[in-house]
Amino acid sequence: MIRLLKIDYKKIRGSKVFWILTGLYALLIVLFFFGMQGFLDDMAEEANTKSPIPLPGVSAYSLPDIWHNLTYIAGYFKMFIGVVIIIFITNEYSYKTIRQNVISGFSRWDFLKSKFLMIGMISLAATVLVFIIGVILGLLHTEDVTMAKLFGKTEFLLAYFLEMYAFLILAFLVGMLVKRSGFAIGLLLLYFYIVEPVGRYYLPDYIGDYLPKKAIGSMIDIPNTPIMRLLGVQFQDYISIWDVALVLGYVGLFGYLSYLIIKKRDL
């Protein structure tokens, strides 16, 4: 296992494209998270000048709710890493290195395992990034920090890890399927931002709610804010085990489909 991971790490370590794209992603996340409160404050002020009743402000950084807030928002940036994954798997096809890997002594399953492990490590790194930012911002903006507050709601981090992993395995599958990076990225964007949203509009909820994007995205629901409470809206503020099970099912399905593709195909 470690050997497979080491091999894949060697492949990406020397790649400028990988470090530039992931570095950009990390920078984006950090800037967004640190600047977010100022943005929310401005919005609240703006809204208050127009509102007949005083609206309560929103504190995004207070522990333990910060875990829910940050993981929810970080979910919107995952497409960025999905693109990185697609580039890396389609490169293996366009350089034909997947073929040479098998010729050199990988089984097809070894190749797949090394990729699944690397995707796991990337998901973990993304989760750790959110965790570190959360600890810093949480400690700075929370009064009377206790262990219970700091580590309360960290199940949202686990859910975020799973969200990232499931999404990246889907991106990987799309890359495997079409082999060409531009086409694969286009297909993933098309499905995520047009096909599934439009499809859900026409489909009944009992089908629409179980589509991949919806399933992966709704493990972590929209965080409740005092404004929403005023409006009488209540979102799910916990992680449902059924949502997790559904996403795990998708991980298994995407992984299995990738396996079928690599097994049946001439490399």
Binding site: R3, K6, I7, K10, K11, G14, S15, K16, V17, Y95, K96, T97, R99, Q100, N101, V102, I103, S104, G105, F106, S107, D110, K264, D266, L267
Partner: protein, 298 residues
């Protein structure tokens, strides 16, 4: 008895209605330098792809070292198919490390194989900066990394200049001397003739000749003759029972001789018949002609 390294039985691969490999069987023994000869599209690379488990066959079987195929066989095989394949953004050395990692062998051999192919000075350069000759040499280095028992080379001199070709051929002969079994696919008769001990000739995925290289070379030899009196030369040649065929080409007559009847015998006979020869030389037929002949015989 010689140990069989690779055995192929009734292998078939279809691409739609086209048969890329058609009911092919062959055996490669330990220590052979085995040539797979055929024009482009004759199924050489497809056959090698199947025995290296990157292409799925539609029928037949193969075995390495007398066992069912597994990834561990491939760790004992050094192979390159078609063009050298490496990660372009990594250095030559890093690329070799990845191959060593996949084969689960140590990096100890890497400096040695880089030295063999004369790439030590450029080992830190990215692969994409290499010239074609350097890429081909790195591919041979990669094939040698795991101390292979078998080396598979597919058109190893393709696209190289004459000096590069000579270097690579010398290198292959050097490797063969160490007792490593070599399987070489090529469309060049000359290359197979210079390097290989055994050969299979493929056309449209079919085996049209299997045997020792010396046999194919004899069968493809033509003798060029011209004389002052061309008409009596032609007449005498037609009467000679050791001459299988003769045809005119410009001011030369091209003659194919029976096995065992050499150019010396022909010369002596013509002299005794009072024919003065002005030109006599041996010409190796072009591979294309030879293939046409083999196919016509089938």
């Amino acid at each position: 008895m010689e140990e069989t390294v690779l055995s192929i039985r009734e292998l078939t691969k279809n691409y739609g209605r086209i048969k890329a490999v058609d009911n092919l069987s062959l055996d490669v023994k330990r220590g052979n330098v085995f040539g797979i000869l055929g024009p482009n599209g004759s199924g050489k690379t497809t056959t090698l792809g199947i025995v290296l488990s990157v292409i799925n066959s539609n029928g037949g079987s193969f075995s390495w070292f007398g066992k069912e195929p597994s990834k561990n066989d491939r760790k004992a095989i050094g192979a390159i198919l078609e063009v050298p394949i490496f990660y372009p953004y990594l250095s030559g050395e890093k690329n070799l490390e990845i191959i060593a990692d996949i084969k689960a062998c140590s990096y100890e051999k890497i400096p040695e194989v880089l030295e063999i192919v004369d790439l030590t000075a450029r080992k830190k350069s990215k692969f994409r900066t290499y010239s074609l000759g350097m890429k081909q040499r790195l591919a041979i280095a990669a094939a040698l990394v795991g101390e292979p028992e078998v080396l598979i080379l597919d058109e190893p001199t393709n696209g190289l200049d004459p000096q590069g070709i000579a270097e690579i051929r010398e290198l292959i002969l050097e490797i063969a001397k160490r007792g490593i079994t070599i399987i070489l696919a090529s469309h060049l008769l000359d290359e197979v003739q210079k390097i290989c001990s055994h050969v299979i000739v493929l056309d449209k995925g079919k085996d049209i000749f299997t045997g020792k290289v010396s046999e194919i070379v004899n069968a493809s030899t033509l003798v060029e003759i011209s004389a002052e009196d061309m008409s009596s030369l032609k007449k005498k040649l037609e009467e000679n029972e050791n001459v299988l065929s003769s045809e005119e080409e410009g001011n030369l007559v091209l003659v194919k001789l029976k096995d065992g009847y050499g150019i010396k015998d022909l010369n002596q006979q013509l002299i005794s018949l009072n024919i003065t020869i002005t030109h006599l030389s041996v010409r190796k037929k072009s591979l294309e002609n030879y293939f046409l002949e083999l196919m016509a015989e089938k």
